[in-house]
Symmetry: C2
Subunit: 458 residues, 2 copies
């Protein structure tokens, strides 16, 4: 490739590309509430069509936010790219230093909901492909780009969509695609880019407790059942204070890392002191530290209360006894532990402990995935990072985060996946004041441009 | 008294009095949020001054909603009336069939937040006194009327106010007042009026758990502490599933009813089947029933979760790990169990169970009170009800609800208290669709008018 021409294009178009980036962030697209989803899908589709992609906006089952599917390029080699155009809710708004959907640049950073997760990597790849097409000519292989709109709510309709479009997700001769570039990726605390090859699974449920017909005056609490107490008692049985999940047989599905996995795990970046300082904690849960903390983070399942809603939540005292209480629970899954096992174990656990009245509502989930670290796409990604950064990337076996990687890897014939992106550890994704470092965004576009060159040569 | 003239006055002024009533309800006055408090105090003060009362709007400590103090009448006998002009929050708004602050009449009922609790009894007494003054002449004794603005948030500043105005709350010669008519009162399911002579105490606190500096992505849950879990674990130690409160020594402060108390308790109305039907439950907590349920309701303390707030509470899934979680807890107190004992026991309990990090914020509280059922004001009240209804009222030793009765009874020399009012069991106070039966309001005004006559004669 003519790297100088590519690089010059990005520099000369800097201001326009930043405005384009901001346009993506300005459009709210909150899958949890449905806000702006159709509008956002249309923006993505228009932008890709403008680059020459053959774009389809494809409904999901039940008419939830559609999948944007885009194809460009020719050749025997086929690359899948996975991104999502939905973002996390921006609440609590009052903790944002600038409005979440008005992207704002301060001190070399751009702030906004979704500015990294996942509009950042989506936009950087669009910009890199634009620069490639303008300065290098056609793509040296075929890109198949899947951009969904429900990743932040656990992709409830993606797997069924994949099942329906399995032919698109294979080559014309039926063999698996040559690789997949995943939605995220990024830098370590010390500024080294890192490549990631897997994700933990997730199972996200709501629990509902209902007791009396309507909220009662709390003076009746000596004889009337309280939904908040039912929920608290039920929750307290799920995990004990030593952080051990109490579902029967749960840990039978948890395996230790293999020797090959351990080799990567031991070397991969884990910046314990920096994390503790940022979180303002003296120790991790259970007091775990060092490599034990790494193994815990990547190879142990979790059971997280992500929210509880019940009764009076305003200022001051309201003497009310709640008739309804609900909690959102986020289970992170290790290999062999599937969402189906979680829901089944959870139901049996609640029943066994006398909580037959507690309703479980499954909001979404996916299995964990650890992809092949020896695949050619891994070498192409390493080469790309080294050519831009002058130094090899770190290798991270898997992310503690989750995503529908199983559906787009093992499920479609074992497509090797690489997370190649430009996030940084303090980006506050999912929190107020989400931001990117502009410098990393510039590098991210260059990584992807050089990756196109490298992947074209494998 | 000339009852016919009194009665005719109420009939002839019906429409104006209903409009006056609505004006009280239209003004929001939510102590929990501070909405409309000053405006409401001004409405009350203006209305009483219009009847000839000598009115003072007296600040509480720290400039919280003021106490309205009004005096009218002469004579050696002095009656205290206690009401409050604040109301409970109206949330959740979407469950109201008509807007909470637009009083609406349907099917012989008037709906609105505070239409009973406590603007109903306040307004009925104002209307009765107006009718008395217009048809009977001056009051036969002195009324001292205390109307506070923080009852629904546990009257955090009333006791100190009482301490500062103890001279107003005694006769000029220093002896105790002759009786007190309490804010509420009402009817049984079967339509009998009942008189009540006491209240349970209350202690209302907020618990706060804080762990990390800011909400984190839930993928980090294997190593980062979660405030929601801290709170759930702490809460679950406070009361077990058999409904036994677990604070050390707590039940040492709980006494059985005395034989004299039992005599009233056994006879007092307790409409178990009606309550269960309305709440849509098959049984009370612990399976208690009959007289055991009565003793439990009136002579056992409670520990009620009135609300929990943490993490994501919107629609769908947000993969967040809360840095902060809080719960509102409402303890109802029996004789000998004071708010100070609760806060102290709670702190010791949390510390003992390893929850030194959980902060306790006291929002308010008062002791229980059971007043003298043999006092002359009790006989005057019974006579008043019988003259209007043609049948004696039921006697209820105490209400399971709470109020600052100790401060206005035992604390000021043992003033005997009677709850004489017109609420009905399905009034949904503190819930959406709070309402009164207009027929009971008409009777309530007449009770109070005849009570003035009877109390003047004791």
């Amino acid at each position: 490739m003519n790297y100088a021409a590519f690089d010059t294009y990005l520099k000369e178009n800097h201001d326009r590309l930043i405005e384009d980036y901001k346009d993506f962030v300005r459009q709210p697209s909150v899958a949890a509430t449905g806000q702006g989803m159709i509008e956002m899908a249309a923006i993505v589709a228009r932008r890709l069509a403008g680059l020459g992609f053959d774009v389809k906006v494809v409904p999901t089952e039940g008419n939830f936010p559609p999948v944007v599917w885009a194809e460009l390029g020719d050749g025997p080699r086929e690359l899948l790219i996975y991104n999502h155009y939905d973002v996390q809710p921006a609440e609590p708004f009052d903790l944002w230093e600038s409005p979440p959907f008005e992207p704002t640049i301060r001190d070399g950073k751009m702030f906004g909901r979704g500015v990294l997760d996942d509009k950042g990597e989506l936009v950087a790849r669009i910009h890199a492909i634009e620069a490639w097409l303008k300065t290098q000519g056609p793509l040296p292989f075929k890109i198949k780009w899947l951009i969904e709109g429900e990743e932040e709510i656990s992709s409830p309709h993606l797997h069924a969509w994949v099942e329906r479009h399995t032919d698109w997700l294979h080559k014309p001769n039926g063999s698996p695609l040559d690789g997949c570039i995943w939605e995220f990726g990024g830098y370590t605390e010390s500024g080294r880019n890192k490549l990631t090859f897997g994700v933990k699974g997730i199972c996200y449920v709501e629990l509902h407790a209902k007791t009396v017909d309507h909220d009662l005056h709390s003076s009746l609490a000596a004889i009337a059942p309280n939904a908040a107490w039912r929920l608290v008692w039920a929750l307290s049985t799920l995990k004990d204070q030593s952080e051990r999940i109490q579902l029967d047989g749960y840990y039978d599905h948890v395996r230790a890392p293999t020797p090959a996995e351990e080799e990567i795990l031991r070397d991969q970046p884990f910046e314990e002191a920096a994390m503790k300082a940022k979180w303002k904690v003296d120790s991790f849960v259970t007091g775990v530290t060092g490599y034990d903390a790494v193994k815990r983070l990547y190879f142990q399942p979790t059971c997280t209360i992500a929210g509880i809603t019940t009764g009076w939540q305003g200022t001051g005292a309201k003497t009310v006894m709640p008739a309804h209480a609900s909690a959102k629970i986020d289970f992170r899954l290790v290999p062999n532990l599937t969402p189906e096992i979680v829901v089944d174990s959870l139901r049996r656990h609640l029943d066994k402990h006398g909580f037959q009245d507690i309703e479980i509502k499954l909001l979404g989930g996916y299995r964990s995935e650890i992809s092949d670290v020896t695949a050619p796409i891994v070498q192409a990604s390493k080469n790309a990072v080294r050519r831009v950064e002058g130094v090899d990337p770190e290798m991270e076996l898997l992310s503690p985060g989750s995503g529908p990687m199983y559906s787009l890897s093992s499920f479609i014939g074992g497509v090797p996946v690489v997370c190649l992106g430009f996030g940084h550890p303090d980006a506050r994704i999912h929190s107020p004041n989400e931001h990117i470092l502009l410098d990393y965004y510039y590098k991210g576009m260059r990584h992807f441009g050089v990756f196109v060159d490298e992947f074209g040569k494998i």
